[in-house]
Amino acid sequence: LAEQGARCMDCGVPFCHNGCPLGNLIPEWNDLVYRDDWSAAIVQLHATNNFPEFTGRLCPAPCEAACVLEIREGDSVTIKGIEMSIIDRAWQEGWVVPEPPRCESGRSVAIVGSGPAGLAAAQQLRRAGHRVVCFERDEAPGGLIRFGVPDFKIEKHVIDRRVQQLVDEGVELRYGVDVGVDISGEQLKSEFDAVVLAIGSRVPRDLDLPGRGLDGIHFAMDYLYGRNRWVAEQLGPQPPGAPPADLPTISAEGKHVIVIGGGDTGADCIGNAIREGALSVVQLELLPEPPEHRPDDSTPWPLWPQKYRLSYAMEEALEIGRGEQDFSVVTTHFSGVDGKVTTQHIAQAAAEPPFAPVPGTERELKAELVLLAAGFIHPETDGLVAELGCQLDGRGNVEAPTYGTSEAGVFVAGDARRGQSLIVWAIEEGRQCARMVHKYLAAQSAN
């Protein structure tokens, strides 16, 4: 690892900074790792990133794509690996300790949602001395990194350990509270000096096709929530709140599974399905197969390359001969027996939007479980957001150019503001939003 740190050239213009939404001080901690000064490295890492153990596990590492060494494809410094080693070492050594504020501001902030954006905002605001209460409708903190991302990508005790730091700093978390249902947005506004919406982008893209109503066709997130709850039940850690009763079980065991959508959510579905013992898993992607290498004409270095990446899950599935990945595939309809889906009818998709089916290429796939992992379109806006009266932008996200919404004292951070994106963006949004909230509170109380 010191060798990897040494490979960093400390470029005059560090393109990795540009790649990283958080502006992580990458060359700095690369050098400190090379010099074996790990305690200084974690200080530098924490300076810009509240949760490096999350990004070290889950970030697709745009920094590595932007690394100057990556001009020779595949040669970048292993930045993400270094990041994870620094933070894992720091936890091991006991260097990660609560940093409560030195004095209380007497102001309070309610944060709705405890995903990475909400947690980052909570930690920043708490450290600035504000009373912070974080409302979470699920039974445990973390949002999608707990209920979406599988344990084999991030062990849930990693989240709990970090949340405990927040709690020790004085952040109050309330589980099983669905703001907008259990408590109104108006109530939050009256009880707190500011409200931060960190509710994610949780409305999934649906397929309005014949047969969509058949049993066995589910949204990917419903499946992933179920699998994560099952793992928590079997292996722990036990959630601090009570999971909702009588949830439907969605199982892939012994089934032919089709995942619609070629992204990370789809991959996580595949990973779970083959662990459950699915007979076969087919992942379908509407877009054409991307090139194997970085296409210099469309996404040259240091941009994020639109190239083919074999997901960890598909690699596993192919390994045991149960996986298949198809590109340029459009679904035309579903059919089934006794109300249960059995067959998915597909066709080759045209290469250009709207990706219409090419006549004569229709075929059928055996389908006993269909998971829709075609992305998320915008945050849930008919409950809390509508009640508060926040304006939306053209894409249906909460409009907030500088984190403040159209409603005074109401802020928004993360996917709910920018649309579905990376965890690293969520942390960045939480941090920046916290800064704007702090400024707002200061301006409010200036004499």
């Binding site: 004095c103 409010q444 109380s445 200036a446 004499n447």
Partner: protein, 458 residues
């Protein structure tokens, strides 16, 4: 703001801090009254000042060069030496007041015996003659080098000691020590000066040093030490500056342990510096004998921590001063253990019309900082500057205190420390930020003019 009255302002003290705040407030058109218990200007710098506050001894010379000490718009006379005597300093302050024509705003021989904040927020000052006056805002510039701090707890045997015990505050002239055996306790600037002076007249001088100190000479490389150039630049990290200066001084002076002084228990810059060009010289001549801390006093002898005993006629405690405000009720505002929480050492975070000028201990001189503070307060009262939110001030105070505790040797001496250049640099940035805030919210004046103007001076 034509037609709208400015608040009426009182200043307590016409020392080096009070007069510069007065000058700025007068220039800005405020109705100001500066109360001075003495019959003259200069406070602690007036030798044998009739108000009893002076810490000067006859042969006191300043220990920051005159270039550092002068106000920004009124240099000290060219013919002054680099390190003038206190009489020259006091004369400079006197000239300053006349140069800017603000003497008429000073009410001499008028002490403030009590300052009370009334329910409407205005101040009622009870004066020495029992009368009272009302003000919208109060600036406290009563100094912090006049209320002696004695050793706490007192040394065993001090109540039955047969010799004389005095505080540096009441030391005046070396001839008072003629032929005597003198023990001087302390390692600060007064201890250096007094033991050096005593070494020319007294029979024996023992310097009891509780801890070591880095001795800074007044001159290095032919220049006043505080004029050596860029080393004080606030843009250079403190640790780096500390390293460079420590290296320079170490090279120039050598280790203090070579002179028999205790090894300092801290790095340079982690205690208020001790400036003396003569102490090491006098030690090497045997004119001053270095001893550890006093263990106890016994009859006419002093016993030190190493068990040695000496005969002593006089023990002089150079143990510093207390921050005190005799005109405030103690439960209203006080500084227990010299600690008082103020935003950048000026603003009280809760009381928005009370300000402290010159209540800081810079590595450098107080006067230019008091001048900047006076301008800051004037900006604030005029509505040109807006304070940050109360919680931002509180968190600044807490962070500042933590930084000070981390850097300085734990001592009641180190509660109001600032770095001269850093303080001015940071304050300028804060004032700019506050001006933007004020402009953004309509330059409203934070302190209302409530009391009737008595048309006093102008």
């Amino acid at each position: 703001m034509v037609g709208q009255q400015l608040p009426r302002v009182a200043i307590i003290g016409a020392g080096s801090s009070g007069i510069t705040a007065l000058k700025t407030l007068v220039e800005r058109g405020f109705d100001v009254t500066c109360f001075e218990a003495s019959d003259r200007i200069g406070g602690t710098w007036v030798y044998e000042n009739s108000n009893g506050t002076s810490a000067c001894y006859r042969d006191l010379y300043i220990n920051t060069s005159r270039l550092r000490m002068a106000y920004s718009d009124y240099p000290m006379p060219e013919d002054y030496p680099d390190y003038p005597n206190h009489t020259q300093i006091a004369a400079y302050f006197d000239d300053y007041v006349d140069h800017f024509g603000v003497r008429n705003w000073i009410r001499f021989q008028t002490s403030v015996s009590h300052a009370a904040r009334l329910s409407d927020g205005t101040w009622e000052l009870t004066l020495g003659d029992g009368s009272s006056e009302h003000f919208d805002a109060l600036l406290v510039a009563n100094g912090h080098h006049w209320d002696p701090r004695w050793p706490e707890p007192a040394f065993a045997g001090s109540d039955s000691f047969q010799g004389e015990q005095m505080h540096a505050h009441s030391y005046m002239r070396p001839d008072s020590l003629d032929g005597k055996d003198v023990v001087v306790l302390g390692i600060g600037n007064s201890a250096m000066d007094i033991s050096v002076e005593a070494s020319y007249t007294a029979e024996n001088v023992y310097l009891a040093a509780r801890r070591g100190a880095h001795i800074v000479p007044k001159y290095m490389f032919g220049k006043p030490t505080d004029q050596l150039g860029g080393w004080a630049n606030p843009r250079i990290p403190f640790k780096l500056r500390q390293m460079v200066v420590a290296k320079l001084i170490n090279t120039y002076v050598g280790k203090v342990t070579n002179f028999g002084l205790p090894e300092p228990d801290h790095q340079f810059g982690e205690a208020h510096p001790t400036v003396s060009s003569r102490i090491l010289d006098r030690i090497t001549h045997g004119a001053i004998k270095v001893k550890p801390n006093i263990r106890r006093l016994d009859g006419n002898e002093v016993e030190f921590d190493d068990g040695s005993r000496v005969h002593a006629d006089v023990v002089i405690y150079c143990t510093g001063y207390k921050i005190s405000f005799p005109f405030f009720d103690e439960d209203f505002i006080s500084a227990p253990d010299n600690r008082i929480d103020l935003y950048r050492r000026v603003f009280h975070p809760e009381i928005k019309n009370l300000f402290f000028i010159g209540l800081l201990q810079p590595l450098g001189a107080v006067m230019p900082l008091s001048e900047a503070q006076g301008r800051w307060v004037a900006d604030y009262l005029a509505g040109d500057y807006q304070l940050p939110a109360d919680f931002e001030m509180r968190s600044f105070i807490a962070d500042d205190m933590a930084k000070m505790q981390k850097r300085y040797v734990a001592s009641k001496r180190h509660t109001i420390q600032v770095d001269f250049d850093d303080y001015l640099y940071d304050l300028a940035k804060e004032v700019a930020a506050g001006e933007a805030r004020a402009a953004g919210s309509g330059n409203r004046r934070p302190v209302d003019a409530l009391v009737a103007h008595e048309g006093a001076a102008a």
